[in-house]
């Protein structure tokens, strides 16, 4: 996973529903050799079903107050 190309998506300053739209677009475009680093101000609860529906894996790397980050990959 470390050798994968990192794509950073920061939606922390977007209001709903745009974080979700941006995230789903990025998930759909994600390639085998890429890892999406997703940053938001809150836990994106609605996104997890999409991640699992697309058969992707994720790992939450930061979950503090007002700061959320996860790595999503194939």
């Amino acid at each position: 996973m470390n050798t994968k190309k990192e794509i950073i998506l920061d939606v922390s300053e977007l209001e709903a529903p745009y974080p979700l739209i941006e995230a789903i677009n990025a998930l759909n475009a994600l390639q085998e050799n890429e890892v999406l680093i997703f940053r938001h101000r809150m836990n994106p609860q609605m996104l997890f079903q999409n991640i699992s529906a697309l058969g992707l894996k994720y790992e939450i790397t930061k979950e503090d107050a007002n700061e959320f980050e996860m790595r999503i990959y194939k």
Partner: protein, 414 residues
Amino acid sequence: MFHGLSLEQAPPYTVPIKFYLSGAFYLILLSIAIIIYGFSVSSRFDYEVIALTHLLTLGFITHVMFGSLFQMLPVMLGTPYANVVKNATIIHIALNAGILTFVVGFFTNTALLLYFAGTLLMGTFFYFALLSFKTILLSQEKNTLVQNFAASFAGLFFAALFGFLALLGHFGFVDTLRYGNIHIAFMLFGWVFLLIVSVSYKIIPMFFVAKEFPMFVQKRLYPVQLALLLLFAYAQLQEKTLLLSVTQLLLCTSVILFALLSILILQKRKRARKDVSIELWYFAMGNAILAALLYAGANVNLSFAIGFFALFGAVYALINAMLYKIIPFLTWFHLSSNMVFDAEMGNVIPKKKMSIQINLYYLSYFFFLCTALSPAFIIVSATLFLFSSLMLLLNIFKAKKYYTEYMKKKVVFE
């Protein structure tokens, strides 16, 4: 290119919308009932006042809250309500039958109707609370937000129980005043306050690009509030005057602190744009603080003024503000999950129509205050609120129509 949402847990769009439309319908009934009965009321114990209050609390507030929970809870938990369409229909029918018989029972002082309504409403609330608890128990997700929702259901459970006991008191079986006060406390400080708090934890950061509420508040406020409510009930039943005053003061302190904190968070938001929902939110929080100060300072039972500021000024306004964020999002959300991608959240309900409706409400509120000068203002106020409620109903219909029209554009893959 956006490729849609995967939202297996969400109920059909019609489930929450049906509850929202019913809620707005009861506001229309409330306005008409105020025009008819508004002049003849003098005390909060008048049967007409009880009927009018419950047109707002059961008719509007409960409908909107149930509708929102049917939508929000499964998405947050990742677990759907069991048989959601069937259960939502049963609850919707039972709730409406209960509200109508309750209100007619009080307006006509008919004991049989009140017994029937009390039993039906208590059964409906218990059923909804148990159904929601079961959904939470079945879910893997037990985060702080879910715990807050569960606490509000506990508030609902006790509020319904004491409400039923208070109703029995109207026929001389128990002390109505004490049970009634406990019912009001659990309903307002438990079910309604904790639910508003829970929804705010989610909605404020999500829709207003604001910071989250401090985790300390999210974790500690609800157990403190529930403990205070139990103490309040004990003090009422055992007639412990000092304890009653202290718990009353502390319950109000929670409300004031939450209101101030939410104002602070909203004022510090990153994208401070003019928004009718934000203004209404500030207005609601101002009213909540005013009502809490009056209640904390009053060594008497709830009065008209406290009820007015708390229910009409704070709870109604806040729910109205939330609806204008939730309904457009919900409409977009369901369209997107049905592979309709050209829907725009901002076009679901035109901003101008929202603004007119809210301004009519502000005017109605102002003329309600003027009834302190002359009772005649009640007619002006109720008429304005009737127009405001009609517009709210039409705005919700507009969202439904938007959904229906865009669903016709749905892409069908073979």
